[in-house]
């Protein structure tokens, strides 16, 4: 049913304007991908600068000021410019309409607007770099952020603007999932990646407005001294933290839910096995998205909030852990009696399971108030967060890129290099961040440009492996990029992993400009490997 057509979204229509003014979700997704990867490298470079500074205790390479700017920009770029907008923006945009059998998202022009709003906001964030940086940390805690002479306003303005892009993307995805599915594609037949994006979008539209208003209040605090967050004016800095984390805790789920979705696609396809506990995974996505709104106070266990809320927050925090745990077990059991191939996407998925399990379990340590008081704001938190965000989200993102690369661009990368890079990412990542758990337990505070002699050994290990991690990620991405440049084309009908969802079975690679040449008719569920044999077809 996939015709050998020469026309696809990449070559039709042509011309620079056809890209800049495109309303095609696949092209917009590609633009998100390119800008996201650029920001990812920028943030990664800043991370390496910090790691090399921390190789030895003193101010050896950079001064305190530059270090503080570097870690603030690292956090802000990675979170606000890469993970939150670019992962749903790239993979979500390219795949969501294909997966539900739609010709496009519900509001294509809004989708394009959303990309430009994102770019516009990113300009402000980049402006802060040329204008001397910002040194408050990505959390912008008051009153430091109201006093700092660095570029707090351009940065918060940038984040405020990017927030709108996030909201519009969320609106678009929700409307698409609700209203654009082809007949017969009921909720329980949706690929789990769609469920994950749906959950992500719900969090995006619900939490982001609060971030927007928080950023507005912060800017007003600087301009007018409104006194809501500034203690010198009768305000309360802890209230700022409530506002900020009401967004930023759910934002963690904006970051991780798409990763859950990617893993839920990769594992069944590469194990050729029906996914274990479909309904459970689907519902746990929604319940995690919801419970994520109730637990923000665990970022504030040492802030001096009331003892009562400490206990409540600690209690609810554990309820996020349980559905997440069951998801991990479901993914593992999916492989039971399957046919597992160790392809690059599958290696990333297995690495995800390993790393995310550590990230999740260390969250339990931080949920126990008494223990968190010792661990709060130390490297333990840094390590935990990176195990979840990099070991979880970014590893899954790389896996997703490798999985859908031949589909999105009609080219195949060198699988051996991809496998080696995946291994390098896994080892380099553990080498970099595992020592940081120990650093935190031993009392090393985070956001330090210089530190005590006693921590030097673990810090230098961490720095050494961070180099390996950086190189591996670079190789992994370059390998993908290279295949694209070399035009290592695969046959448009190729389905190299034997995927069962609509984007594999009903459209060419790369997809047709209007997604499907004729409206797809649903023949089976997304993971029916017990009913249908889909051959792995891969021809150059």
């Amino acid at each position: 049913m996939i015709k050998n057509t020469k026309q696809n979204y990449l070559n039709h229509p042509r011309g620079i304007m056809s890209w800049l003014l495109t309303v095609d979700h696949k092209r917009i997704g590609l633009m998100y991908l390119v800008s996201g990867i650029l920001f990812f490298f920028m943030g990664g470079l800043l991370a390496l600068v910090m790691r090399f500074e921390l190789a030895a205790p003193g101010n050896d390479i950079i001064s305190n000021e530059i270090y503080n700017n570097a870690y603030t920009l690292h956090g802000a770029i990675m979170i606000f410019l890469f993970i939150i907008p670019a992962i749903p923006g790239a993979l979500g945009n390219i795949l969501l309409p294909l997966m539900v059998g739609a010709k496009d998202v519900a509001f294509p022009r809004l989708n394009l607007a959303s990309f430009y709003i994102y770019s516009f906001g990113a300009l402000f964030a980049l402006y802060t770099i040329v204008n001397g940086g910002v040194d408050t940390g990505w959390t912008f805690y008051t009153p430091y952020s109201t006093q700092s002479s660095s570029n707090v306003v351009p940065m918060t303005l940038g984040i405020f603007i990017i927030g709108f892009s996030s909201i519009l993307t969320g609106l678009n995805f929700i409307a698409t999932v609700h209203k654009m599915r082809i007949p017969g594609l009921t909720w329980y037949k949706l690929p789990l990646f769609v469920w994950a994006l749906y959950g992500t979008s719900l969090v995006q539209i619900t939490a982001t407005p609060v971030l927007a208003i928080t950023m507005v209040l912060l800017m007003l605090e600087r301009f007018l001294g409104i006194g809501i967050f500034d203690p010198a004016l009768g305000g309360d800095p802890v209230l700022y933290q409530h506002f900020f984390w009401f967004y930023s805790h759910p934002a963690v789920y904006i970051m991780i839910l798409p990763a859950f979705g990617i893993i839920s696609e990769i594992i069944p396809v590469h194990s050729r096995k029906k996914i274990w506990g479909y309904k459970f995974i689907a519902y746990s996505t929604l319940s995690i998205a919801f419970i994520g709104f109730l637990v923000w106070g665990h970022h504030m266990f040492t802030s001096g909030q009331s003892v009562f809320s400490q206990i409540v927050f600690s209690f609810i925090t554990y309820f996020v852990g349980i559905p997440t745990g069951v998801k991990i077990f479901s993914w593992i059991l999916t492989m039971y009696k399957g046919q597992v191939s160790f392809t690059p996407p599958m290696l990333y998925a297995l690495a995800f399971l390993f790393l995310f399990t550590i990230g999740g379990l260390t969250g339990i340590f931080l949920g126990a108030v008494a223990l968190d008081i010792h661990l709060h704001d130390t490297y333990f938190v840094v390590a935990h967060f990176h195990y979840v965000m990099q070991g979880g989200t970014i590893v899954a993102f790389l896996g997703g890129l490798h999985h859908w690369w031949p589909k999105s661009f009609g080219v195949m990368y060198n699988q051996t290099i991809a496998n080696i890079a995946a291994l390098g990412v896994f080892i380099g990542f553990n080498g970099t961040f595992f020592p940081q758990f120990l650093l935190g337990l031993r009392g090393m505070p985070r956001r330090y440009a210089t530190y005590d002699e006693q921590f030097v050994e673990l810090h230098s290990y961490s720095t050494f492996w961070s180099g390996i991690l950086g190189i591996s990620i670079f190789i992994a991405v370059m390998n993908l990029f290279w295949s694209f440049m070399k035009k290592n084309k695969v046959d448009p009908g190729s389905n190299p992993w034997g995927g069962m969802t609509l984007e594999w079975t009903h459209t060419s690679s790369p997809p047709h400009p209007h997604n499907f040449e004729e409206e797809p008719v649903l023949q089976h569920g997304p993971y029916d490997y017990d009913k249908v044999i889909v051959q792995k077809t891969y021809k150059k």
């Binding site: 739609a102 909201i167 209203k179 209040l217 006194g227 809501i228």
Partner: protein, 219 residues
């Protein structure tokens, strides 16, 4: 594109099956947008509630510095504009273009009146120095005992200001509606934009319904 009906109406986008799907999708997305609006204001309501409970006496005394009459007038104006907006949609559903345009114009004028009254209120506050934050300078006999009244006025100005901004945006949208209805782009067959903007306009009313008692009445 071979894939849709040659006699489909021109406003139907090619990626929708039929007009009903398109209408329902827009409306659903509009409600999702309303959700984001409510949560934008939610942050400010939280600030209001928290500070009210921390400074109960100051809030009670500071609210007396506001002008109830102007507030009530604005309430009436805004409710009436909501009615005219609803009637504009009713008229277009009945395909009565003339009435619809008239109602839209009325809504626009009410919105203008609302902002006018707001302007009078604001300019009085500016004159006497009842301003947000550090710009607060009013130490009149009825305020000299107040503890940090600038916080009340910060919240008052931010909330009513953001609400006023919504009114202004709504006016722009309504002006556009007047234009496209007059041109005949909107009919009883296709009036989705009017329905959407109507929902937005009622939301503006709905928020004012809470702002009015919270700032002007509760003592």
């Amino acid at each position: 594109m071979a894939h849709h009906n040659p006699d489909a109406p021109s406003h139907l986008k090619h990626y929708f099956h039929d007009v009903n799907q398109q209408y329902e999708t827009s409306k659903f997305a509009m409600w999702a947008f309303i959700l984001t609006e409510v949560l934008t204001f939610a942050g400010l309501f939280v600030a209001y509630i928290v500070y009210r409970s921390w400074y109960p006496d100051m809030f009670v005394d500071a609210h007396k510095l506001l002008d109830v009459n102007k507030g009530l007038m604005n309430t009436i104006v805004l409710i009436t504009s909501s009615l005219t907006m609803a009637l504009a949609i009713w008229a277009i559903q009945k395909n009565n273009k003339k009435l619809s345009v008239f109602m839209l114009l009325a809504t626009f004028i009410f919105a203008l009146v609302f902002l006018g009254i707001k302007f009078l209120e604001y300019s009085h506050k500016f004159e006497v120095g009842q301003l947000p934050g550090e710009f607060y300078s009013y130490m009149g006999p009825d305020a000299v005992h107040l503890n940090n009244p600038h916080i009340f006025f910060s919240i008052y100005f931010i909330m009513t200001g953001l609400h006023g901004l919504h009114v202004a945006i709504g006016m722009g949208l309504i002006a556009w509606l007047v234009y496209s209805t007059q041109k005949g782009n909107l009919t009883s067959e296709y009036y989705t934009p009017m329905e959407m903007i109507g929902i937005f306009w009622h939301l503006v009313d709905l928020i004012w319904i809470y702002l009015f008692p919270l700032f002007y009445l509760i003592g």
